[in-house]
Symmetry: C2
Subunit: 632 residues, 2 copies
Amino acid sequence: MASSAFARCLPRHCRRPHRVHLFNSIQHTHAFPRPRLLTTSKPVNSTVPPLPPPHASNSSSTNGLRLPLLAAALAALAAGGALWIAPRSLYTESLALTRHGEKGGKKDDMLSLFSKHSNKGREEHEINSVPAQRPRFKRSEISTHTSKAAGGIWIIHNNGVYDITDFVDVHPGGERILLAAGRSIDPFWSVFTIHQTPETKELLEQYRIGDVEPPRDAIEAAENAAAEERDRDALKDLFKFDPKRDPELITHAAYPCNAEAPARALVDAPITPTEKFFVRNHLPVPDIDTTTYRLAVQGPGIPDGVALSLEDLKKLPKKTVTVTLQCAGNRRKDMHDVKPTKGLQWSQGAISTATWGGVLLRDVLKQAGYNTPPSTTTTLPDDDQAISHVQFHGTEGYGASIPFHKAISAQGDVLLAYEMNGEPLPADHGAPIRVVVPGYVAARSVKWVDRITLSDEESWSHWQRKDYKGFSPSTEMPCEEDYENAKSIQELPVQSAVLLPAKGQNVTLTEQGEMVCKGYAVSGGGREVVRVDVSADGGRTWTTATLKPAATDARPGRQWAWSHWDAKIPVSSTIKGKEVEIVCKAVDDSYNSQPEKMEGIWNMRGVLSTAWHRVTVKVAGAEGEGKEVEGR
Amino acid sequence: MASSAFARCLPRHCRRPHRVHLFNSIQHTHAFPRPRLLTTSKPVNSTVPPLPPPHASNSSSTNGLRLPLLAAALAALAAGGALWIAPRSLYTESLALTRHGEKGGKKDDMLSLFSKHSNKGREEHEINSVPAQRPRFKRSEISTHTSKAAGGIWIIHNNGVYDITDFVDVHPGGERILLAAGRSIDPFWSVFTIHQTPETKELLEQYRIGDVEPPRDAIEAAENAAAEERDRDALKDLFKFDPKRDPELITHAAYPCNAEAPARALVDAPITPTEKFFVRNHLPVPDIDTTTYRLAVQGPGIPDGVALSLEDLKKLPKKTVTVTLQCAGNRRKDMHDVKPTKGLQWSQGAISTATWGGVLLRDVLKQAGYNTPPSTTTTLPDDDQAISHVQFHGTEGYGASIPFHKAISAQGDVLLAYEMNGEPLPADHGAPIRVVVPGYVAARSVKWVDRITLSDEESWSHWQRKDYKGFSPSTEMPCEEDYENAKSIQELPVQSAVLLPAKGQNVTLTEQGEMVCKGYAVSGGGREVVRVDVSADGGRTWTTATLKPAATDARPGRQWAWSHWDAKIPVSSTIKGKEVEIVCKAVDDSYNSQPEKMEGIWNMRGVLSTAWHRVTVKVAGAEGEGKEVEGR
């Protein structure tokens, strides 16, 4: 079934029997196990117990979004693993296996299970086999196929027509896939980019029944255009709960919203104004009723599992922490400019800082019944081998995890926040509750969190297992084994950027013949930035910048917020009228420093783009031409 | 008093009144307060209480060494600060001031105190003023001036003669300076390199009484040579307690011993054999009687101070931790080769790993009476503002400190070790007790520790305040202010090195046409190495190395030991007979990576030399010439 190119990439582990748990939650009512969280291949010997109701008052939930997230699960299948994509009866069977801790069946058994239920047309449509003549269907005909009753559920992808009737029930993202019924799925995939993998397309190809008939005349072409317009409208409908946003945010993608903070809002501002705080949403903003909201907390340390209301949470001691959140893709554009990467072209504004108010995760775990082992001198909480990760699930479908030692440490300061800069948390930033993991990549600070699971393994979400990982510069297209071997990004490396002057700006020197520069610097893991070097000659000579005081609530080893810096670099008057390259680089208190060039840290996803920041500006001539640097 | 060049470097803080506490310990008997620990300028508002006897049974101590460590204290004076170099009466006065928390006198008062007692000849010998004709003294005459009774204590430095009679009593290193009486002090300073600063030489110049008379004939020349030989013997006498060492250690300095582990002993060895463990001694190995040995523990959290015997310590729960110790100067030679640095030319062997057995520092603090605040959810031990550092004092005179949060953290694993690889700790590695600070630069793992002080400030030792700090590449000669602003090296950045093949080696490819490489990688702060990239083309293409399993006792976030790696790099057969550059670079679990070049991290001390490791080798020709890589 796998193409030969793909087969070459097959990792060893994929030749062992594995299952894909598409359903790591069990509905309270034991109703049809609608998939709730995108997962990827997961060994059978999981110790995670069944879940309590995530929203106790709303078990049939129209509250959370059910998202069409195919890719990772399908990828695992395509890569030779087995997939638990099972309707009710099968699911019960699989669950029983899992519950009793059996090692599961052989790979072939798994595959046969899969074949029986969702492998329609597999023999007919071998991958990479192109029939000499495929049936052609008019758009008008395709558009009528929106249900079983209507003769099946068809979708369009590129120029192909696919009958996914039998797949809908087992789609990991649930029935949201029906939004594309009778239509092109491509606009949806342009949003839910998680599907844009060779593996997903390969699997879809098995359901191909023909091609789209090209329009024969202008009228048909117009009809097709109108249909495409309707598709776009349907897409926008997914985002109806997204809030209005500050127009100064620099939007890289509107659906879902990905917008960076303007440099002007970051300069000299230890705390980013809430409305300018960068927005990085992976999925539509969900609509959550705070009165029925419940946070499920579960896992081996919490035998019964609990569901906490907002009021329950707010009864715990309130804690505020000033934390900088930075996207793993911050400054991707700088890396992309050296060699193309895959992802949104963030400049240096996918980073912001807020003072978050909420409750400590460790308090919540305690409240939920997790017993911190007595603080003896020899037994430590994180010596507990049964729990090594804390998984977070967001209502909108996102998921991630952090190491348990971070969550439970008295020095970890992991927060479940309900306030941002003294105000209630806004919808865009995870209301009513989001996780804030200080010192970690923002991708672990899960918004709209509704479930917390203690586990002996990382989250099985795409974003934990298939994204937000770093690779060698020579790994141009990671295969399954590469993903498995790569460490999830958690703590971030040291980073800095010039905010002022901007690239290409005309800069006037001070009367003393100095170049004025301002920027930020930050490191992960609570490490403090101890020095920023700035150069106005491309890195040949350096001026040590002045570091502004860090966040006032910081403790030694817990410097969760960035530092702002400024520098006046003495330059020769001979550079007037010329282009100069301003460079900055930071050093943290572990004396980690930024690498000089992007080439050595390049990775195909363009994450961890932390090489020296370089900004080319033009120095105004002796006549004073050009715009003066704003001297705030 | 300061030269104009020096004055330019004067930091702002030195224009404020300061004192130098040369005596941060008070002898139990209140006998003459012989200086015990090299200190540098320290503000008066210290909260450190008086010390208990460091060796309770041996308060007049001939046990520990009293070392001639002038430089830092003198430097502070030379830099415009004031110096508490005071005989008994004066000391009592200064102590009273400190005790009552007064801000101390004005700078001028401090200077006048100093002048009264130890500033002989100051007016006569202004710095940088060269008298037209200085008296000349024969070596034979100088050699008779070894005591007050003999007409004064004279020493030789370069070609100068100095009468230090009045200085001996206030020498921070104690009476050990008398070893140089009547002789050249230069051989001693070649060992105690701490003195080799412009400030020390400047201060000494105030005591100059003349020049050495050149030998007039062969007989006098021979006599001088014999005298120099005796000086060298006297020097060696300081090291009479240094143990015999493994001849395979690569010795960079014999007195004190600085010797790196041979690459052969490090390849593929997760634990370094004890006798091959690198030795980095700052001073002579002390002779310690374990029956009278006491560890003093004191500070604000421990009102009364205690003195613990070896037996007391061994009664606490025993803990073993596998920890890699790395010298801050490891790989200095690589940095030095790019641009000269100051220090021993370590290659990649100033690093080793042992399994240390001992007791947790936090247990010892508890035993000493320090009450860990109750582990409530809002109050953390390191929120205690009165204690932010833990200072360690070594019997031989060395000193250093670590942040309190590291010492007290349940995840810190800071050990007071009495075993190394299952055997009693050897003399060279700090017997009977040394500190082992996992994840930190080895310079904080103080050997022969005899005093632990909780404090609100870092150790005032030279090695905490004036060494083991990182500077910008543009800081070619750090001034006082630079030292003050620079952060002490604690956690180390990510590092890696090729151990095999060696530089310049003739390498034979495998039958499959691969280059076999082996090495180590390590990071600080408990961060695990997650990837090592190796290149056989200078860094254009990379092969991901295979990481060997890390130490078995490691916990998440507490990876204190290095990882070994090996790689088989596919290379073109066209490189046979040519030189190739092997490069390795590591990435830790914070995704910090090594910088590409030394230039961006160059610093005058050559510490933190962590750029990509490059090893040029010659590939054996098709005829199979050259030595094969040892395939262990």
